[in-house]
Symmetry: C2
Subunit: 205 residues, 2 copies
């Protein structure tokens, strides 16, 4: 605070500010976070925020975008098209949950706080739509549920993504084992509740 007013190059201060913003948004919500609060959290004075990121209407999407990019990156890491569908699915799910676990603030601010914000709803919806489309494709190619139309596949993807997000929420706020969670999801998704297969017979093929 008083002592440590080191002068840092713009690039790193910008990141610090975004970090602070994400953190505060995650715990207080977006609209109830004042610029002063962000400034305080970033250990910087308010005009710096405006200088580097412009008014609130610009700075916050910026934070969202950065987090969103991180997120997409993390997701695609686990995506290896050479795997069999089921393994692919498990990997993606696991990687997704792992990201959430490791970036709880990002998750909360991106998918929970921002969703309720009219200003961001569109942004988030777009990001989610991409993910859904990705999953829907996977389904189209990987499963042969008979006579399913494109629209039906998409709806399945919607449901799956929703399930994933719900589990992710649990992970972001509790202490659930990642492996267990991923296995349950795969098991449920593949064989359903009536599938009769035992839950711990999951495939680390």
């Amino acid at each position: 605070m008083p002592g440590g007013t080191k002068r840092l190059p713009r690039a790193v201060r910008e990141q610090q500010m975004l970090d602070a913003a994400v953190k505060v948004f995650a715990e207080k919500g977006f609209r109830e976070t004042s610029m002063d609060a962000i400034a305080a959290a970033a250990d910087i004075s308010k005009p710096m925020l405006y200088l580097y990121h412009g008014p609130r209407t610009n700075s916050s999407p910026r934070a969202s975008n950065r987090e969103g990019a991180r997120f997409i990156d993390a997701m695609t890491i686990g995506f290896d098209p050479r795997l069999r569908q089921r393994d692919q699915a498990r990997t993606v799910i696991f990687e997704f949950l792992r990201f959430v676990d490791a970036n709880r603030d990002s998750w909360r601010v991106l998918y929970r706080v921002a969703t309720g914000q009219a200003a961001f709803a569109g942004l988030i919806a777009a990001s989610r739509a991409r993910l859904i489309e990705m999953i829907a494709d996977l389904l189209r190619r990987g499963t042969t549920v008979e006579r399913a139309t494109d629209r039906e596949f998409e709806l399945m993807a919607v449901a799956l993504v929703g399930a994933g997000e719900a589990v992710a929420d649990r992970i972001s706020e509790g202490d659930i084992d990642l492996d267990t969670a991923a296995d349950i999801m795969v098991q449920m998704g593949w064989h359903g509740l009536a599938g009769g297969k035992r839950i711990d017979e999951h495939a680390f093929d």
Copy 2:
């Protein structure tokens, strides 16, 4: 409206105000809705809001509570314990989706807008938890998944509810056929993606 300043009994005005609040919250978000805006939407002057519902910190939970109660009511209508599990599930799912379809504003404000609001997060979480517990019970009693622990059942319920909410979102903003949606969810939930007919791996064991 200059013309229509009819004097109405307190009870109905109170409901009008809540209706207006829900509507505005749903489209503008909670924190970005000013008391004046609610007042305007309810065709009433601001002091009436305070007189009947107290300050914003009271009036908004009140709206949420009312919507939540409606919601629970609707859900339990379709719940007939004499049905077989699968039919029970389908009925609950269908009734749930039908409610969302018929009360889009309620849905949005309850489950999307309020979730991001620190002040309500707890309230919503509690409501959702009840639903999850209900589903988890259903699973415990109804499915053949062997040796699943309570915690695992609960996680499944979390995933299912998440899926339901995601589909509900789609319904609340688009024109998806209710029956189709319900069928797909039941199908997916019961037999999984691989269970429909055939898979790239193997059908039921």
